[in-house]
Symmetry: C2
Subunit: 216 residues, 2 copies
């Protein structure tokens, strides 16, 4: 528990940057934590696997950087990022995700994230990105940024997103209507609108391209 690891003097140590790690896949989480622990100027002070735990534990441990996955059980890393910016403005947020979806990047920036990393790319990038973010820089893959700009903003309305999200698993119109508390006819209208806006031919294609762009 007690942490006097070799440091004998120096009133305030404050050399290591404290990192909070939010990632649901156990092996990935463990490996990243171990990897960051090897850097002698960093320390993983908290690991969570659920999006709902991010804010509470962050308030507790007061990290310098929060490394957040997007797809998490509980609330998404993007939502957590926005909350975190409000509650701990001095804490930098670095999004780490599997998919470089344009809409994700856009939402991450709107949520006040300082950086956006994809899980491809070499591991060395990670520690480097943390240091750059800490120095006040923004870390974004240029190619991804271009894609996000060219893709434009999310064309779907709130309801269209809701309905489309409820259709992902192959639910029927009646199912969706039940889940979203709407009339089946209205559901079909929204689906038709979403299909039109995405330029696709049926709801599953619409779901697919909406997903690909990070619009859900």
């Amino acid at each position: 528990m007690s942490e006097t690891t070799g440091v004998t003097e120096g009133t305030e140590v404050a050399e290591v940057t404290k990192v909070l790690l939010a990632e649901d896949q156990g092996m990935m989480r463990g490996a990243l934590a171990l990897l960051l622990g090897l850097e002698d100027d960093m320390e993983v002070v908290a690991q969570v696997s659920n999006g709902d735990e991010i804010l509470p534990t962050a308030k507790d441990v007061r990290p310098d950087v929060a490394l957040l996955d997007i797809e998490l059980p509980g609330r998404s890393g993007l939502d957590a990022a926005a909350e975190l910016r409000g509650a701990l403005p001095e804490c930098r947020v670095l999004i780490l995700t599997t998919f470089g979806r344009p809409g994700y990047l856009r939402r991450a920036m709107e949520a006040g994230a300082s950086g956006f990393l994809v899980k491809d790319g070499p591991v060395e990038e990670l520690a480097a990105a943390i240091r750059r973010v800490l120095a006040g820089e923004r870390v974004i893959d240029p190619a991804l940024a271009a894609a996000a700009l060219s893709a434009g903003p999310n064309p779907l309305t709130q309801r269209e997103r809701d309905v489309l999200a409820a259709a992902v698993d192959g639910a029927t119109v009646a199912d969706i209507a039940g889940r979203v508390h709407l009339s089946p006819a209205t559901v079909r209208n929204y689906l038709s609108a979403a299909i039109g806006k995405t330029g696709t031919r049926n709801r599953m294609e619409a779901v697919r391209t909406a997903r690909q762009n990070g619009w859900l």
Copy 2:
């Protein structure tokens, strides 16, 4: 190259176990490699990100253990495992996958894998599993094994799988027919059969449960 690491006598040296690592996600691959490198009785002698590279590089470096992801660009880790068993019988195969699908486990065992790990669960499990596999043990999560047994074998025929796989992205019957070179009527028959066998209500639900069980 030469390996006389402290051992003075003993005709066979063979202290470090050589590991081949196949994983498409760069950060995960790098982190795992680094992690295994920390173990002083292991060495990652090759890393590949494409399923097609597994067999050639394995023939080249002759690893003691191959750690294979299933979902890879190129051929799947399961297919590669089967080939590997044929070409290098002395090389143990350990499957490492995101999803603990019953059908995956079954196919892994049929392909001659010695172990099956999911990417949840702690990192310590990994090195431990490699050692156990090397000792001749089989490494399988008991709960997963039970699920695989209770789920039973894949009920879908080859053609049903083909057609269902061609339907994953929301393709129409005509699209599928084109891809698989079949009559639209035949495609609908196969789809109907797949829907019936999976106990679902439409093609997307059928795709979903077939995926979940590792039947694709």
